[in-house]
Every structure is written in structure tokens, then in C-alpha cells.
């Protein structure tokens, strides 16, 4: 089938798609967007998290046919106009990246959390990230990054929130 979807604000089209393919496969192999990662293919690790019509989903669990006509945002779409989103910048500043393989999914999850709740409690942060596996960092600096991003977003543009 033909899949047409808006990905990161741009219309993408893919032909001869088997409807049972995963959205992750379509994004990575057919639309040239390999930022979302495949680490388990069963929705346990969160590395492939993307927005589907504004809701974070594991792209490995969404069938290609389900994505037709939908709005998708991937990690590649988080940095508006080249500048890193505050969540991304906070990951750098907090030292929250090691191998980087789980990072795209964690970024989308953290981005979604702060969009819903600009000042989440400690428990809310842990809850929001509890679907994402990271083997490198032990999560501590990822938590620091989310807190830092929340503080900066609360301080508004130009504020460092420190």
C-alpha cells in the first residue's frame, strides 16, 4: 500500500509498503529517518518512541497501515530550526548521554512530559521515563537533565533557570 504521513512537518510518502510493517521500519528504511532506534521490537525499551498525532508511542508496535494519514514527530523533529530544544540542551549540560542509542526515545518521552507538565514532581518524572531502558547511564544524569530542562523552561526564553 501507499503510506502518506506528515513527519516532522513534512509530507512523506512511501509506496509498496506491506501494511504489517512496523512504523519504525517505515521511518527508518523508507523515509530516511533512522533517528528512532530499534532495540527490542516489542515495546519494552522505548528507544523508538515517536509522537503519533501528539501522543508518544513505540513506533515498533505501530503497524505501517495505522500510520497512514497521521502526524508523526520523531527525534529528528525536536530541534526547531537547527537550535536544540531545551530538553536536548539539558541532556548535554547534565551529561545524560553515553552511547546515545536509547537517547532518541528518552528525548521524546521527556519532551512529552514537559509539554504536558512544565513542573513535574520527582515521581512524575520517574513515571514518565519508566518505559525507557538505558544500559549506560544508570538514569541519574537523565533525571538531572529533565529537572534542568524543566527549570529552564519555567524561567522562560533566555533564562537559565539555575
Amino acid at each position: 500500500m501507499r503510506i502518506t504521513a506528515t513527519v516532522n512537518g513534512t509530507t512523506h510518502q512511501a509506496d509498496d509498503v506491506w501494511p504489517g510493517e512496523s512504523l519504525l521500519f517505515v521511518l527508518r528504511e523508507r523515509m530516511g529517518l533512522p533517528g528512532s532506534k530499534n532495540a527490542c521490537e516489542q515495546g519494552e525499551c522505548g528507544s523508538c518512541t515517536v509522537y503519533l498525532d501528539g501522543v508518544p508511542v513505540c513506533a515498533c508496535l505501530v503497524a505501517a497501515g495505522q500510520a497512514d494519514g497521521r502526524q508523526i514527530v520523531t527525534v529528528e523533529g525536536l530541534a526547531a530550526g537547527g537550535a536544540l530544544h531545551p530538553v536536548q540542551q539539558a541532556f548535554i549540560d547534565a551529561g545524560a548521554v553515553q552511547c546515545g542509542f536509547c537517547t532518541p526515545g528518552l528525548l521524546v518521552a521527556a519532551h512529552d512530559l514537559l509539554a504536558r507538565d512544565p513542573s513535574p514532581s520527582e515521581a512524575d518524572v520517574r513515571e514518565a521515563l519508566a518505559g525507557n531502558l538505558c544500559r549506560c547511564t544508570g538514569y541519574e544524569k537523565i533525571l538531572d537533565a529533565v529537572r534542568l530542562a524543566a527549570a529552564r523552561l519555567a524561567a522562560g526564553p533566555g533564562g537559565d533557570g539555575a
Binding site: E29, V75, L84, G100, F101, C134, R135, Y139
Partner: protein, 807 residues
Amino acid sequence: MTSMFGEPIARVEDDRLLRGEGAYLDDLGHDALAAAFVRSPHAHAVIRDIDVSGALDAAGLVAIYTHEDLPGRVGEPLPLLIPHPALTHGRTGYPLAAAEVNHVGEPVVMVVATDRYLAEDAAERIVVDYDPLPAVVGVDAARAAEHLVHPDVPGNVAAHLVQANGDAAAAVAAAPHRLELDLYIERSASTPLEGRGVLARWDTESRRLRIWTSTQTSTGVRAAVAAKLGLALADVDVITPDVGGGFGVKIVHPWPEEVLVPWAAMTLGRPVKFTEDRSEHFVASAHERGQRHQVRVGFDDDGRILGLDVTFWHDNGAYIPYGVIVPIITSTQLLGPYKPGAYRVEFSSLYTNTVIVTPYRGAGRPQGAFVMERTMDAIAAELDLDRTLVRERNFIQPGEMPYDHGLIFQDGRPLIYDSGDYPAALARLKGLIGWDEFEAVRRAARAEGRRVGIGLACYVEGTGVGPYEGAHVVVETSGKVRVATGLTSQGQGHQTVFAQIAADELGVPITDVEVVTGDTRAFGYAVGTFASRAAVMSGSAVALAARAARAKAIRVAAAALEASPDDMEIVDGVVRVKGDPGSGIALGTVAVLSNPLRYAFDEAARAATQFVGGDLSTPPVAEGDEPGIEGREYFSPVRSTFASGMHAAIVETDPDTAEVKVLRYCVVHDCGTLINPRIVEGQIHGGVAQGVGGALYEKMAYDETGQLQNASFMDFLMPYVSEVPERIEIDHLETPSPLNPLGIKGAGEAGVIPGSAVIAAAIEDAEGFPITSMPISPSDLFELRRRHAASGETANASQTASVNRAG
């Protein structure tokens, strides 16, 4: 310019990784054919027949290969990478099984198709007829040897090694106090988020092979694949792309797929890629940790060990390509910071019908620390002494460094500690966790009906093992500095720390430094990234190479300025007379001047062309000199450098559900001089999370037929953010190593090493009965409570009657 070395600067790697622009193996080669494998569903079986006929008309099929299709060395068993005299019965697997399979997941048939979906569809149509054989699963079954994994390996024993310093049996027998312990650690695994993967392109015109692989050693893969395929080393490039974690599993090479994919690419004349999926990673990559240990220890009234006699059995899985490195590390590193009196250790490495073993972060040390620290706690309990006091009394003292244990370490060299201050570390740890105030914490918790316990564990880690690493530093005419080193990166931040070192040594801004790792095109001589060696080995080599480039730059600039090299310095990328900012020449210009030219390719190059001038009485390039501002140096230390640390934890055990919660986790860590404290902290955090995971959650649940029952992230319980301690409290001690130019020691594995030991100690303290087997789940703990309640023991934290008193 401030010094970069020692600063917690942000990583240079992160920007593109955060934009989704990382280039991991499966992000490459979208034009490549996809490989999938038919793997053994049996732990042990004879292959009677392989019928591929049903797959021949599968859509998108390109090729099907079985063992019979593999020519010459391609089909032969994979190399035994690290031979050892004690490894008398080394066996390695075939890239595709020849006549027999020895573990679930062993590759039997390779399918190549136009994409992975189609390759798997075709693989499903292939029928393999097996004659199942009895499976040997676990250490105890391997020891019993009722069945053999390999019929020509008696007792399933691959290797047997004894090391001793003094007469431990006699010392134990003569000691006033004796204990025996039986200590077990279950299998776990590295489990990086990215599995293995390999992509190969054969250039039919230049007849060169280019391989990208998710590895911890690109030079190792290059040598192994070139040998297998009969190619000259110079005709094989191996490039390590971004790697999504390794933790040891990617140090073994070549994996079957690393031989088969390049061979198929050559055979088909088309690029071929294999990307391991998660279920394959569980059954077809590697595990570690599975060992049973018997300890006999003799000690005096003060708790000083007089003799230590350890026998253990290591489960090495179906084959043993990486040799006996893991049990050698356990046998030597279990000594930790202690002087054991007389010591004897004996191990057997045993075949089982399970997937192979490779070092997993810590590499035998978590087992060793568990053995030694459980022994220390048992001694303390036996003598009713404070657990920290027993440790203090057995410590090697700073004044005794270098300390020779009289044993041979994993690098084949003497086990000699270079430096360390264990009493100081323990004092800091006690202060950090509030060891001496804990009884008040316990009482307060008890008053609320809560059960808490405290434990500690120490370790020493041999890091920076040889034989060598090298680095190349070149100053380009743009002034940019390119650094290349051969070992690979799996997310540790090597580009950042090597850039810090090079920037500092050369006197250039870090933004002018670009680092390449793990690419044989950029640097062809290397060993690999394992054993917490990258910073020590390549860091030192980068420093030496940068110093050589700096000396050359100063010499060339001094000649141009008619100044003495001794009076020159490099500041912010400008070579100048000390204290005279007006006198300088930019490094890029110095690079131009260092390379006498016939042709001017740009404006800057004109300054170095032949009619510009210079001393006409000497050759343009002096005898013994070379053009360019470069340094190429190797670092090869006489032996490993020994980092150390101590962890303490306070846990709460739920009286009803037996759930264990880590309330506090404290780390005192000494990896010598710190290059980047933030990166070291990140390594400790990640290690501790794996240590806690290994203590409380992670184990490979094989059934008796050799089927792995939990081969998915749904069932293998790796910690999420909800399972890690709230905050890891860290204090650093810095005792520089005398064995390298930067005084550094490795930091990569440290965090994981004492995990099972410290959590076991804290649970034991909370529960009042001995913990001798890890990991421990709530059901395990619940069962232990029932057993101890039935045997009449009470939960009394001050009386941990841990073990059998030896007669």
C-alpha cells in the same frame, strides 16, 4: 586558556546523537541485502538434515548458505582468541554449525534476501531435522558430567588452573578460627541497547573489502576476517560506527556473522548487512557471571586472614573463544585490597549447552568481590567484630606499595598493585554513609516497623592492561588538530577525553581538536576497548603523540623566529616566545612551514614554496626529519595499573513482600588522576545500576533442557529508572598511577564490581541470616525467610551466623 585536563566539560559527541544523527550500524547500508539466520532451537543435538527446498521460491531471496557451502577457512571453527597453557580442551564454534549444535541460538543456516522481513520469511521455510541429545545446563550439571557437551572433553573441563602463594591449606589448618563458605553467582549479560551488527561492501573494482561492525575491536576483526577470507590486511578496512553500548559482549571476534557477512558480500558482489535482533542477542551473543565458589579461610582472633583456599567452577558455555580470562580475573582479583596470608586458588572452566561467555563489565571481579567480601563479613560475624574493622586489619597499607601478590594476572604479568590508599578510602566511605551512626538509624526504622540493613564491599581492579595502544596527532595547515587512535568507543566519551588530553598537551582550544577512534583507515595498530583500558592506554598514547607534535611545532617555529626552542610556548594555538604574545606564529602556519613545497595549492602554502627563501646550504628536509607537524607514539606499560574503590549501601527489606529497596548507595572511588570528573561519574552511575541490577533483578533463567525462559526485555529484568537508587553519593580519592605519563587508572568497570557483594551484605544485615547466592529476588528472599524461620533462627542483625564453622 584554562587547562582542559581534569575539567568536567560537556561531551563533544552529544550534539549529533541528540539530533538523531548518530550513525549506528543499522543506520548504515540502506542499500544492502539483509542476512537472517536459522538458529538451533535445541541446546544439544545432532543435525540430521537441512532441507532448504521450501525456501527457494521465497520472495526476495538471494542466497541460502549452510556449512557445506562455506569454502576453506570460512567454514572452519572460529579462532581461540586467547590461548593459555591451562586451556587444554579449547573448543570453538563453527560460523555455521557443521554436524552438531551445542546451544540454543547457534547459527545453522544463513539466508540473504532483499530485506530483513523477506530474509526471515525465507528462513522460516527451511526445515532442519535434529536428533536431540541430553543438555548440560549450569555449573552443577557440568561438574556432575553425567552428560558431555563435547564427547572428546572429559568431565566437561575446558581448563583447570591452580595458583598459590604460600601453603594455604596448612595455614588454614593451623589457624585458630576456620570457616567454609559456598557462594554462587548466577549468569547475567552485558545487554547493550544496540545488539551486534555487521555490514560489508566488497569493491569489485579496487578489490578491497570494507566492513562496518558494532565491535569493541576493529583491528581484531580486521586481522581475523582477513585471515579467514585470505585477504591481505591492507585490503581490508574495518570501521567502527557509533556503537550503542558494549560492556564486553562486543570484544569477542570474529562473531560468526563477522565472517559470514563479509564473505557473502564478496561472493555476491553486493553489500550485505546483518543486524541482530533482541531475541537473538539473548541466545546467540554471550553471557557471564555464572560461577560456584568454595572458600576455606583461616584467621586469627583479630580477624586477620592467615590462609585462604578457594576452589571455583566457571560456566563457560558451549565454546570458549575468549579463553579463561574471566576465571583468571576472579582468581586474582578476589583478593581486593587485602593481604590474605597464604593463598591458593583453583578453578575449572566447564562446558555447558548454553551460549558462550565473554567478559561482561567487571569480568569475573563481581564474583571475586562477592567471594572475598562475603568471607570478610563471615569472619566479622564469627568474631563479633565490626565489619569495617576486620577489613582494616587485612588491608594492604599505602606504605607497602607496590605490593606483589606473587600471582600472575590476566595480562600474563605479575599481579603487583602500583598504588592506592585503602585505609583512607574506607575512612571516607564510613563518613559518607554514616557507618558509625547506623545503629540509631536501625533503631528508628525498627520503631516504625521497618527493617533496614547496611553493608559495604571493597574491590581492587586491574585496569589499563596491555599490550599497547597508539595514537597519531597531526596539526593540519588549517590549525585544526586531528587525533586518531585505534581502539573503539561504545559511548564512554572517548572523543571528549582524548580531545581534552590533546588540547592540553598541544596548547590549542578543544574546539580545534577532532578525534577518530576504531577506524583502521586512520590508525591500524590497536588492541581494543575492554578492561577499563581506553583512558590509560590510548589516553597516554595521545598525550605522548601530542607532546611529540608539540616539540616539532616548537622546533619549526623557533627556527623561523630565530629563537631558542627552550624559550617557546604554545598558547591558544599560537607558538610564541614565552611571555611575548606579539611574537607568535599560528600553529597552522607552522604546519605550512614544516612541509617544504614545490606547488602552492592556496595562499597559505605560498610561504613554503621553493623560491620563497630559506637556508640554501641545507636540504629542505633535514636528515632524520620529516615534513609536517605530527606525532605518532605508542604506550605499552610494564603491567596493569590498579584502581580501587569501596561501596556501601543501606537497604530496606519489606517484612511482608520481601521486596528490597536501596535507600542509600555510597561510592568512594579511586581511579588515579581524573581527566573528566563528569564522565567518570557517568561511568560509576552506569556501573552501579548494572551492579544493582545484577544483585536484585538480572539472571538468565535456563530450564533443564537449555531453553532460556526469559530471553526478552519483558522477562529479563534490567533496571528501569524505577529500579535504580534515588541518588548515588560519590567521593573521589586520587592516588596517581606511577605507570603512565598522566597518572590515570581505568574507571569503566568499577561501578559494577562490588554490587552483589554490597547488596548481599546489607540484606544479610537487615535479615539476620546469611546470603550466599545472588541475584536475590523477592521470592528468593521470601523462601530464605521461611527456611530460616523453620530452622529456628531469628532475625537478629547483630548475630549473622553466616556459614559453617569448619572442624
